[in-house]
């Protein structure tokens, strides 16, 4: 009898905790949304004193260039290798350009660039803001009657949002170049067929534009998560480290989930007759 009681208490405790976690996450999401709204409304400083935002584009975008370009190149090269391996079984190796281009432009460009951006730039933004909070720099700014969200957070947000689509485009472009290197130069697929089939199959409005839209959405999501986690971090060393981890994990999940939603919206219902 006592055993049963004990089990029941245990289960109840577990359920309560799950309920607690869910409620606190929902509450946090609401808080994050209000934060985003406030941030956007107070973006005047970030846009008027564009130098601030420019500096953040440098830190988020320019410093991510190397990893984006190198990764793009390698992804494109692997796509060409794998693609050729399968296509040549059906005698369709001349469509290699199509496979490489469509995979990159529609999916891999925005998604992989987004994941890399979250790991490199997103975590850096979170750490920076979190550390500013931990060393009381944010409080100092408030005490000097300067709104830290307008001065510190907004420029970082817009810097990330502007950088992300550019990085995704660079990733795709590098990938296609990598695919060209491996497919045409290394394997020997006909250059003319490579480019002409690609051009015939890749549609600017449906494929490229949708890819750009995806990268903009990912950019907003990742940067929003990064600045929020930084601003909300517990102001200790451990707190900042946890916030940074949360940024990378949450951003990655958000990218993949949003990718599914956007792909379903863009690439299935739209294109039929």
């Amino acid at each position: 009898m006592q055993q049963l009681e004990h089990l029941r208490e245990h289960a109840r405790g577990r359920l309560e905790r799950i309920g607690n976690v869910v409620t606190s996450q929902v509450w946090r999401l609401g808080f994050a949304s209000r934060f985003l709204f406030y941030l956007v409304v107070h973006s005047g400083t970030a846009l008027r004193r564009f130098r601030l935002t420019l500096k953040e584009i440098y830190f988020a975008g320019v410093l991510s260039l190397i990893i984006i370009l190198v990764s793009g190149l390698f992804v494109g090269m692997v796509l060409a290798l794998q693609g050729y391996e399968t296509l040549q079984r059906f005698g369709a190796s001349e469509s290699l350009g199509v496979v490489v281009a469509l995979s990159l432009v529609r999916e891999l460009g925005p998604v992989v660039a987004g994941l890399l951006f979250a790991s490199r730039a997103g975590s850096a933004i979170t750490a920076e803001i979190g550390l500013m909070k931990a060393t009381e720099q944010i409080s100092a700014m408030e005490m000097m009657a300067v709104d830290p969200i307008a001065r510190v957070v907004a420029p970082r947000f817009w810097g990330g949002v502007i950088s992300m689509p550019l990085l995704a485009a660079l990733f795709s472009a590098m990938g296609i170049f990598g695919g060209y290197l491996v497919g045409v130069q290394l394997i020997g697929v006909d250059a003319g067929a490579f480019w002409s089939q690609m051009q015939a199959a890749v549609d600017v409005r449906n494929d490229i534009l949708n890819g750009v839209i995806k990268s903009v959405v990912f950019g907003i999501a990742v940067t929003w998560i990064s600045v929020f986690e930084g601003y909300d971090a517990v102001p200790t060393a451990e707190g900042v480290s946890r916030a940074t981890t949360r940024t990378v994990v949450t951003s990655s999940l958000a990218i993949l989930a949003l990718d599914f939603v956007l792909t379903a919206l863009m690439f299935t219902g739209g294109n039929n007759q």
Binding site: G61, V105, I176, D203
Partner: protein, 157 residues
């Protein structure tokens, strides 16, 4: 890292990024082909459009001269109504034939226009009267089998 260096690098970054976008749009996609020209709309009816899709190319002598803009079903005549956007640069006679063809053996389908000899040209809103429907593979196969069967019967007659 002083201000002007940052400005320089951000400038380079933005130029590269926009350049990549331009590269994708022009060299990778098919922006160059169509969107900016003026077009006129003509219609055609088909008994069967097979696998024809909206935005499929319309070619004449193998050159793209337009795009399919709309495909509908007429519930009264039980035919397919296809609307075609033709490049205003190209004029076709009123007795032009529109055929649904396949690129390659198993490729995607498009509309091929074969010009007739009429002196009067098609203008916006006109209907292309002569059409040929898509070849449906099943019909082709059954036709082939039927012919084969008929052939093997003949010598017996």
């Amino acid at each position: 890292m002083n201000r002007s260096t940052i400005d320089l690098w951000v400038g380079i970054f933005v130029v590269l990024g926009l350049g990549a976008l331009l590269f994708l749009a022009l060299k990778v996609g098919n922006l160059g082909s169509f969107s900016t020209n003026e077009t006129y709309l003509v219609h055609a009816r088909f008994a069967n459009i097979g696998g024809l899709k909206v935005r499929a190319p319309i070619k004449s002598a193998g050159v793209v001269v337009g795009r399919v803009s709309d495909i509908r079903f007429d519930n009264e005549t039980y035919e397919a109504l296809v609307s075609m956007d033709l490049d205003a640069y190209y004029q076709f006679p009123r007795d032009t034939t529109a055929k649904i063809l396949t690129s390659g053996i198993l490729g995607e389908q498009y509309i091929g226009l074969e010009a007739g000899g009429d002196g009067v040209m098609l203008k916006g809103g006109d209907r292309v009267r002569l059409t040929q429907s898509a070849v449906v593979l099943e019909n082709l196969i059954s036709q082939f089998l039927f012919n084969k069967a008929a052939e093997s019967k003949e010598p017996a007659k």
